[in-house]
Amino acid sequence: MLHTGILLSMNIYLSNSDYLAYFGSFLEKIDLTDPDRLDITTHDTWISVHPAILTFVAALGCNVSKENVTIDEVSARSGHYLERMGLFQMLGLPSQFTIAEHEASGRFIPLTVIKTAEEQTKFITDMVPLLHLSPEHADAIKYTIGELVRNVLEHSESKNGAIVAAQYYQKSNMIRLGICDTGIGVKDAISQSWKVGNDIEALKLALVPGITGTTRREGGTDANAGAGLFFIKSMAAMGRDYFMIYSGKGVYRLLKRRPSKKLPPLFADPQKDKHAETNDAAFFQGTLVAVDISLDNTQQFSALLSVIRSTYTQAVKERRKAIYKRPKFI
């Protein structure tokens, strides 16, 4: 779109360190001004991106005509990663790389679109062998993907479904995963039942246990309790890992905690968590969720759930207490 002589577009730069630790830096370099055109440029020598960023780029490309999507000539030695993760295919672009068949068995899940509950179930079943997960880690990953994809299918109203990708990183012994949609965004979803002023307020409200866009009733409806995002954020917090959610102009990023023998504290109020936030990001029509899950965490999944349970129940009790009038002794 020509506007005051400048060619506007969505510009994305894929760098050599696009991880959740540096997500602020990634955001600073993107421009989402014109949703009808997407131009991607890449680092000259090395590309290293979180799978969530690939889901984000793929999501942006969903609503752009293929002739209006470009990617520069990828010169980085690690550029074939974009091919292996299916980015060229998702964007409808010819590949710049040839991947030999035997190379495809790394520990990753390429960009995948999920549009129905049945596709979700199949994806969760198929993903465990792809990531070579041990049984003790499989449930946590299945849980995370199950809840996040279901959120998209149920609340986002996205015509493009949920776009998912994941990768195992041997050096850090970690699974990084991302889920993105091009739906109504968290603010519109949560505003169906709650009054929120802006995107970051909506994101933080959505992270509170027991808060859902479908009702204000405590305990939720028969189908929704408003627990999904709180659980995922809590699992990341207990594992001292990153968690990030981006929707509209809002970004909430749970920061990594230092290793310690003590269990990290778990908060029902996301404001109390060690986090970074902004309500000034480039406006994104949809929602991106990114999670890092360390496989070094020796805690059993059921033990994590036990701690989450206690925080959750306490939060509900306190909220119930707050809405009842108390006797006045005059």
């Binding site: 979700q120 199950g146 809840e147 009733r217 405590e218 929704n224 059921s302 129940t313 119930r320």
Partner: protein, 94 residues
């Protein structure tokens, strides 16, 4: 009535549409007749909170904690037990 969850939901129970169908078609009619219901989680390694919520939250809301004299959970892994306890706790607290 005994309901074998893995027959409907596989080894990881996450599809809440299936949970709702089990509740509406099997659990609630049996409870209305005063029968006991056993949810057998044999071979289910894990479940999401969404699945268990869709399965049992409405009976808990309707019958209160008396439901646990009628609704039983069998062969639950530690993970499934925790999820069931979480849903029970927040529904009873609500």
């Amino acid at each position: 009535m005994i309901i074998t969850i893995s027959k409907h939901a596989g080894t990881f129970a996450e599809n809440k549409d299936i949970a709702r169908d089990i509740r509406v078609q099997d659990i609630e009619p049996s409870l209305l007749l005063g029968e006991t219901v056993t949810l057998d989680f044999m071979n289910v390694t894990g479940a999401t909170q969404s699945f268990v919520h869709a399965l049992i939250s409405e009976p808990i809301r309707k019958y209160g904690d008396d439901i646990f004299d009628k609704l039983f959970f069998k062969n639950c892994s530690p993970t499934v037990q925790e999820i069931v306890n979480i849903v029970a706790d927040y529904m009873e607290a609500s």
